[in-house]
Symmetry: C2
Subunit: 312 residues, 2 copies
């Protein structure tokens, strides 16, 4: 009965930024254009509405409008792994149902993240309640392990319980812990379970350990470089391609990451509306923007304007 | 022009629990009855939908229904300081507008809590944007400082900026840091700014430093004891009343706090539906419930069944 279900995802996914209008509402037109550009320039898929996409700074209604707009603009749900995890189970359920109905190949699901120090029993109950309420055979959940932000880690024991209870539904995980040993342990312990690295710099070692790919923030500006790395991870240049990507990431994270990526995108598109995040995330200052641009220029980085086919 | 605005709050506030139905929806009837009982037995007001009330485990729609139901059941908005702070500004604005429209004397406002390590500039921008969008002269904001849970502390510098920019709106703070020096520093630095302790055990020292009162979880079962302490904080028995309350709290927090309070309330009312929290918070096990009841019995604690007037 798997015919109805999406394939397990793999490859290069952008944790896509969410552009805004002057009143801080999501700029749906620019968002669809950005997602199209990402797919045209190296992305296998789109992890829209994740941490980089500031999902939790948008209401459920805004998040649904963002997802619907992509499909309305011809971006297939098949490419999508939207972030859906909220603090409240009814919100997570509503977003997940919508994503599945839009044909999303998967959803990236944070655990409820308000309370801290919650037991695995509590997190298991939350995931189980959510999956049971969605009650849809097409649902494929990718767990979202991002302890530096959520402060609610997803343990290997919890993964094991969920995979055992929902083997056709809980099919993967994004690991943004920054701890390579954690992600390789998961990839090795659960063969067929799709583990994605949340860090550009850890893409190669995770692929070498059997990982499925990467879902990263810097992918918003360098989908071409990540795709080259993904295509070439078993080749002679693998380490070189990984180092290049890691160096680019180092430049970006020497500034606040989301505002920095927005500033690069603003320069690339000439659209100043790309700059502001929704509070509480800040806008990159003019001085920092200048310093960032200089670093990127000195490094020889430029964003692709052509479809990836031309670069391959 | 203050005539239209609520008084600054003070006294004993319960961080009211939220009872649920078997399907985990909020039990509105039991919630109104609990809130009425709290007011009849020592509470000056109700901090509904805070951390103890599992507010962030409920959707915006559920939270609005909970607030509306209280007013529909004759509980005056004047007694209320509902929790309204969400990760997304539109959600916080919607809840805040509703609370103000229902006549709430104040709202308890968490900072956006998904991102961590956000600067004071970012938090200031979030609070300012929220207050400007609500744009209501009747709004009185009590900041919610609960770093063990939100992981987003509210610094004294941030309070100063907000009080300077919105002197008639940002009028107080609940401090659930557990750090008495922090709350007394704030009370002393900002005369007239209403500082509430989130810890039963810190009620007396904060009152002695000029604090406004307390907003606590254990108040759900012991509003009478907290009111006695509040009435008597300058009297001979103040330390004794404080110690009694601190000892009760010690018993409760030797178990998971919210599930433990629910279990006590279940025994008191005979309503088993009081037990389950919404995931990810757990239900207290039968063994733990028995152990908790025995500790409380040995301590000589019982919940009041009469209006406080009888006890005074």
């Amino acid at each position: 009965m798997l015919s109805n279900k999406p394939e397990i995802l793999k490859g290069v996914f952008a944790a896509a930024l969410t552009p805004q209008n002057a009143d801080l509402s999501p700029n749906l037109t620019d968002h669809a254009a950005h997602c199209r550009w990402l797919l045209d320039n190296g992305c296998d898929g789109l992890a829209v509405l994740g941490t980089t996409g500031e999902a939790n700074s948008f209401s459920v209604g805004e998040r649904i409008a963002i997802m619907e707009n992509l499909v309305a603009n011809g971006i297939s749900g098949k490419t999508m792994m939207p972030g859906v995890g909220c603090c409240a189970i009814p919100d997570t359920v509503e977003l997940t149902k919508k994503a599945v109905d839009l044909g999303a190949s998967g959803v990236l699901m944070l655990p409820p993240f308000y309370y801290k120090g919650v037991s695995d029993d509590g997190l298991y109950a939350a995931y189980a309640e959510t999956i049971e309420r969605v009650a849809d055979d097409r649902l494929r959940v990718y767990l979202y392990h991002i302890p530096p932000v959520s402060q609610m880690p997803i343990s290997i024991d919890l993964i094991e319980r969920l995979v055992k209870a929902y083997p056709d539904t809980v099919v993967g995980l994004k690991d943004s812990s920054g701890v390579i040993d954690n992600m390789t342990s998961i990839a090795k312990k659960f063969p067929g379970f799709a583990v994605f690295s949340g860090g550009d710099h850890l893409t190669l070692p995770l692929l070498q350990a059997g990982g499925a790919g990467c879902i990263t923030a810097v992918c918003n500006i360098a989908p071409h470089w990540l795709q080259e790395l993904y295509q070439g991870w078993q080749g002679d240049k693998a380490q070189e391609l990984q180092d290049r990507m890691a160096n680019l990431r180092d430049i970006i994270i020497s500034f606040p990451q989301v505002p920095a990526l927005r500033a690069v995108k603003a320069r690339h598109t000439g659209v100043d509306g790309w700059r502001p995040s929704r509070p509480p995330l800040p806008v990159l200052s003019d001085a920092d923007s200048k310093a960032l641009y200089k670093k990127l220029d000195d490094f020889g980085f430029s964003m692709p304007d052509q479809a990836l086919a031309a670069a391959q």
